[in-house]
Symmetry: C2
């Protein structure tokens, strides 16, 4: 069974609930919405990502022979349950914000409308995919905003949380505006541009840096990037200058250097001078080593002459906010709007739409959340993407999504583009029609209207 | 190509370096060691995990037709490179600390001795696997220490960073002492015990809580755990009492209840009283909802009558420390010890061994790191696990590893078992033989001895 596509990549309670739904004939239409309850500290917006993987998962949902065999042998379920699973497919509808859309707390970014067992089963993996890519795209957008025009490359595979995290982080970073990734498999599997230089081990395996640089440049005569901080960065930069002269006569070009440790701002200035004075004004300086968007901001504010950055662990784990409060909640069942009123976790009921209002300067002004069908001005952000279990459109190219994200980030008001909490958060209004629906649901269930955030 | 086993799940620079190694005939034996440079704030120890997946990756390393085809068509490499890759297998030796071993900064937990191209290529995925499982096992150990004797269950799949993270987090938590996981596929794939109850959506899909509870209990007559916080927790607990009486006559047993929101300590006390007074003294109370080891500690210190905990996002992302400073560094090539002297990132050269000293009370006292072959007292922690590319022993069972971890955690001195930084960190000494080797390496390369931490 394939971990990445198996329907057993789900929480056991989805299956126990499925058994109870089947046992009681509860196959009416359920509507679930996926949203993020609140922003992490220091964050002003989120960037939606992961829809493509989510749709792929839904379209291919099925229990294969190995899964059914396990279900029968597990002792966890009564006889007959596997038979229901054998014929289960995803036959529902999906509405979603397109990937690369900026969004805010409590705004649904994905809605599933399907017979209850189908809609329930897919919860765990849908959140798993959409949450993670959204985490990384939202984090990546911050370095894109902090370092406009710089070449940003995802270096995170080794400390990503598993291989799928490595691949999907590369995707999320690319759609948010990164130039590409060091993760090789992202090229054959997703068509993402890949970048790579050399590691310290290559330098250490040689008896001197010059030998290492020369070997590497010979192997990549069209332009190698040489790592110069293994021993003494400035000394190595001078070796690069001498070597580049020698290699030029053989038609071998040195493209640039990489710094990976030390005081990057000072080193970059010194190395830039050494390269310029050594006749290599076009050689680029690339920096890496425990970088994040705040370090990028500080380095550029200090005028560090750095052309590009490799960003790893902080990006792919979103280390300041590795988790978003992303949930997938039942909003309607069998035609009746539903809500949860758990302390601190109450939800707005019913099928919803998000309307975005743009201000006179062309920036995002505020959003309104209302019930679907309520006539509201503004641009509706949720669009139909799948019907009866099948996609409505061809897969969007990553470059289309990347262009959308760039356009969306350009429309963010300046206060939301900063790296710290905006004094005035983005305004998200709850429309009167949605408030009335919540009151009606509470009255219908005989409960005191719950306090809502 | 399979993302989880493909050799292209690596950084591009591994491949560019491989090309340069092949081009210059650099196939001598390289020795790389994997270690963590420092502890995150608030942490006193780490728990080694992920070796099993690392060995599996090494044993099955090969470029298949799809990968070779991509390498040839990518335009990233000169002609002939794919031919070298086609015959590449991992033929080296591996030494490692067994999984479940407690370890400390700068101590190698895995050593690879292999021809340079092989040892280099595997860096990215080896760190990716060992780092992540070690991150989660180390995090899980903290809740195991904070809540001794309680049933701890991994609830993290939905906010784990991808499916592989979900599965490997379940494994790492189980070996650290968790009772099991909610991630279903961990049962068929790894034999880990799985746990599941019901979600709010199940309650919401019914017109009242009693109907939901009754349906669920009927579906699992041997003992259902009912989620009681969807609307009003104490009212729901009273419904459970009434229902349990009614169901008992039909031979249906209610096992317990789950709380997922609100003031868990107070609610657990009130619910316990309702259950006890209602004739359900054996019904268990299970709690979940944004828990971590500190919340567990506080709840138990407050005397909350909770029997078990579901811990999700904080566990599987290790939210306070989602990244460890884990590296894989060249320590020897072609028989010569090597080291890196980059500012703040210098390493100790050569093949090393870690010797552990136990104090008179049977607790871990201190460790000594020396060069391999240096005769030292204490227990050597690194043992041979693979030779010539093949495992030396049958795969360890997860229960064997889990028992080892329990034994190791029991030997931690009390100050290191606390949730905050110990006033006196664990002592790790560098043996004179290793210091001498570092000086010799520096002299041989004509450098001033680097400042070492």
């Amino acid at each position: 069974m394939n971990l990445l596509s198996s329907p057993l990549t789900t929480d056991l309670y989805q299956l126990t609930m499925l058994h109870a739904y089947f046992a009681h004939g509860m196959r009416d239409t359920a509507v679930f919405e996926l949203f993020v309850r609140k922003l992490p500290p220091g964050r002003n917006f989120l960037l939606a990502a992961g829809l493509e993987q989510a749709l792929d998962f839904l379209e291919h949902l099925r229990f294969g022979p190995e899964e059914l065999d396990w279900v029968e042998r597990s002792g966890k379920f009564p006889r007959g349950f596997a038979g229901h699973l054998a014929v289960l497919r995803f036959t529902g509808d999906v509405h979603a914000m397109p990937e690369g859309t900026v969004f805010f707390p409590n705004e649904p970014i994905l809605r599933v409308t399907a017979p209850m067992p189908e809609a329930q089963l897919v919860e765990s993996r849908l959140i798993n995919l959409v949450h993670f890519e959204t985490v990384v795209a939202s984090k990546a957008a911050r370095s894109v905003l902090a370092a406009p025009g710089k070449l940003l490359v995802d270096f995170g595979l080794r400390r990503a949380h598993g291989a799928e995290a490595g691949l999907l982080a590369a995707r999320a970073a690319y759609l948010a505006g990164y130039a590409g990734t060091a993760t090789t498999i992202a090229a054959p599997q997703l068509g993402i541009p890949i970048f790579g230089t050399m590691a310290h081990s290559f330098v250490q395996a040689h008896d001197g840096e010059t030998a290492a640089f020369e070997h590497f440049a010979e192997a990549f005569p069209d332009g190698a990037t040489l790592l110069i901080d293994t021993y003494d960065t400035e000394a190595a930069a001078r070796q690069v200058v001498a070597l580049a002269r020698k290699l030029a006569s053989r038609g071998i070009r040195v493209k640039g250097v990489r710094l990976d440790s030390g005081d990057l701002a000072t080193l970059a200035r010194h190395v830039r001078r050494i390269l310029d004075e050594g006749g290599l004004p076009e050689a680029t300086i690339f920096a890496s080593g425990n970088l994040d968007e705040r370090r990028l901001h500080d380095l550029l504010a200090a005028g560090a002459p750095i052309d590009g950055f490799g960003i790893g662990s902080s990006l792919v784990t979103s280390d300041d906010a590795p988790v978003l409060d992303a949930v997938y909640k039942l909003q309607e069942y069998a035609g009746k709007p539903r809500r949860k009123r758990s302390s601190g976790k109450a939800t707005w009921p019913g099928r919803k739409q998000v309307y975005r209002h743009t201000d006179t300067a062309g920036c995002f002004g505020h959003d309104v959340i209302s019930v679907e069908g309520d006539e509201q001005p503004g641009e509706p952000l949720l669009v139909p993407v799948a019907r009866n279990g099948r996609r409505l459109h061809a897969q969007e190219s990553l470059d289309t999504i990347r262009a959308r994200a760039a356009e969306q980030l350009a429309k963010l008001p300046a206060r939301l583009r900063a790296l710290d909490d905006a004094a005035t958060p983005y305004r998200v209004e709850i429309a009167p029609a949605l408030r009335k629906l919540a009151e009606r649901v509470d009255r219908a269930t005989g409960e005191t209207p719950a306090l809502l955030r």
